[in-house]
Symmetry: C2
Amino acid sequence: MTEPSPGIAGLHQRIPFLLSQLGVHIADDFVVRLEPFGVGPRTFAVLTALSADDGQSQRQLATLLGIHRNAMVAVVDKLESQGLVKRTPHAQDRRAFAIRLTDKARELLPALDAQGRLQEETITAMLTGQERDALRHLLQRVSTGLGMSPGVHPRLAER
Amino acid sequence: MTEPSPGIAGLHQRIPFLLSQLGVHIADDFVVRLEPFGVGPRTFAVLTALSADDGQSQRQLATLLGIHRNAMVAVVDKLESQGLVKRTPHAQDRRAFAIRLTDKARELLPALDAQGRLQEETITAMLTGQERDALRHLLQRVSTGLGMSPGVHPRLAER
DNA sequence: TATTGTTATACTCTATAACTATA
DNA sequence: TATAGTTATAGAGTATAACAATA
């Protein structure tokens, strides 16, 4: 007689499945966490990119984040309507805008960062500090080994 | 003077971001791997569930996998059109169907499983056997700690 | 001729409700 | 009255192509 197939329970032993299951859940959870601030994944990514290098053009942001430039228009529209960025003239290229964070955005950024930290604490609550470090290192090695760009989320580009 | 914000590069230090980045990438990769077999995430999930317990009703499958019963219709339609399952009369309930794997499906399942193993080897190629075990255990603990059902992928239900 | 930003359109997916036949 | 399965419709989200202004 043949033993029964493990079925979906067997997926719990597969590293790719565990990563996929956890990753998608966490991505959804992060969306929920940002919702009260009126920020979505794409607007969050643009705000974060500008926090390190303010005044980038929409093209630069699109290339950096893997978002199509057509889609970037709506993202910047949204941020501008919320008063979080301004489209200012670009010094070297009159076709382009320099996108700049407003003071309101600079006040908001720490709160968004706090959500990221809170999420990390929640997710790793059952791990020791050593285990967190070990997990972080393993994930970084896998991510780098797969050739992924640090900090660039593949869902921003969309299929 | 203030030092520049780490921007998106700082996300590379965050466990939730790494999990989300890797997980979404891996989920997309798995879709690509299954494509040549004409199988998608939802049909794969149903085939896997039936491999452990054949003859389940659409309602049972929907509840088990987190797919809405309305959406389950199209999934079973697809599988039936491919000759991978049959809708057979349900022994106890004339409203319901017992969904049963065909011989063709039983021949296909090992190939799908092989793709899962191949993906795991590819993703963990840069890790030692010990490190793979450590990673698997850490992920299982995090997944269980978050109350996720083993083997149930949150993307099947869709937003 | 190529590029930045923009707009419009078509396409895909999903969520919701309503229907039938049985229980 | 509730449930299994089905169908239809509307809505959100995305990709594609084409456009004007500037390089």
